[in-house]
């Protein structure tokens, strides 16, 4: 039997490849298993916030509370805006009166007047649920009342929630709270009822300056996905390993 050098090399390569394939690669997957393994291929909702663009008007908070029937005057909210003012003495002055619902109209922070020439940096940071890839709040639910949808949004089943509050304690970002009327855990849903109809989330629509944007990370033509993949973006509390899906442009280390 003759064998050219070319044939020998080709067969050697094939042999090496075949040997490296584990037996499990030949296991037949059911379509459901295969789908579960890759996840829903079409959609992964993500959020992008540009801190420079936020002026602290609080229209997002106002719109969110009314859209999602969160009691307007109760001190709870699904999204909020924090103000960070860093002065020359190195101190951070941070406040969010009523979650920034009525905007920031005063230079005073907790009654303390801060003069412009004392400020080294100052900005507003909108916050909301990070819809984590590994949501700690979902892991701890003892009854299966909170879960992650196939497109990455974490929701709460109000008929199923027993109100134990584990998830509220588990969230490293403090985005969950107890709904004063329904008496169950409550959180931002990325306006699931709107985004699944092709609308913008209420806070995104209400923002006059485009500081808040919602996009689909799996759509390469999506401008939000494009920005997240090609520009310098930050996330909050990376060390918790929850893989948050709210990305910030211009994040500062003082923001926690």
């Amino acid at each position: 039997m003759s064998c050219s050098r070319r044939e020998l090399l080709k067969n050697a390569c094939k042999g090496a490849l075949a040997a490296s394939l584990p037996l499990s690669a030949f296991k037949l997957l059911s379509p459901a298993d295969a789908r579960a393994a890759v996840g829903d291929p079409a959609i992964r909702w993500v959020f992008l916030i540009d801190i420079q663009k936020c002026v602290g008007c609080g229209f997002c908070v106002k719109a969110c509370k009314q859209e999602n029937e969160v009691p307007y005057d109760a001190p709870v909210t699904r999204t909020w805006v924090e103000r960070y003012v860093v002065t020359k003495d190195g101190k951070s002055h941070i406040d969010t009166p009523m979650g920034g619902r009525d905007g920031f109209t005063s230079t005073k922070i907790y009654g303390e007047e801060i003069k412009p020439d004392e400020i080294t940096k100052a900005f507003f940071v909108p916050k909301l649920c990070n819809q984590c890839e590994n949501p700690a709040c979902v892991q701890v639910c003892p009854v299966g009342a909170t879960y992650q949808t196939d497109d990455g949004v974490v929701l709460v089943d109000r008929t199923w929630c027993i109100g134990c509050g584990y998830c509220i304690m588990a969230c490293p970002y403090g985005v969950r709270f107890f709904h004063p009327i329904y008496k169950v855990a409550e959180k931002c849903t990325f306006c699931y009822h709107r985004i699944t109809k092709g609308m913008k989330a209420a806070c995104v629509q209400a923002c006059p300056f485009g500081a808040r944007q919602l996009g689909n990370l799996k759509d390469l033509n999506d401008p939000v996905a494009h920005t997240i993949m090609t520009e310098r973006v930050g996330i909050l509390k990376d060390e918790y390993g929850t893989k948050p899906q709210v990305f910030y442009i211009g994040l500062d280390e003082r923001v926690r």
Binding site: I119, F123, N134, Q139, Y147, T159, H193, M199
Partner: protein, 157 residues
Amino acid sequence: MKNHVWRPLIVALVGIALLLTARAVMVPKDFGVNGRSFTYGFYRKGNVDDWKNFKVKYRGKEYCVECHDDKVTENLASPHKVIECENCHGPAVDHPETPATLPVDRTRELCLRCHAHLAYPQSNRAKMPAISPDEHNPGIDCVECHNPHNPDLEAMQ
């Protein structure tokens, strides 16, 4: 079979059978592992549709323009074109049916959300056309002089 082992065992078995029957009846059929794993996807599938069917209240400028095209056209030619009508007029919900009229927020506080001057260098707030609320006509509503649909200072009455 009448001994001290079997009798309590039967009671226990009947108890377990009752529990399983009750569970089968009471747990919805769509409850179970629906997502990527037990850890993150153990839930009632029908709840996803419950959330999708939640009522939309903020309808957007595209909805307002259907009837109020004169106001929207005026607004779209002004620097205030970036602001949604419902930010000041309140959510439309099913307007004009319910509510028939929208509660318009004409307060000074509403305007000050953006136009109270805050010199914050790392925020575009510092670049906003702004006033000092304590010095610029305190106590008077902005809409007394300024037209919110078109706040052009040249066109001011």
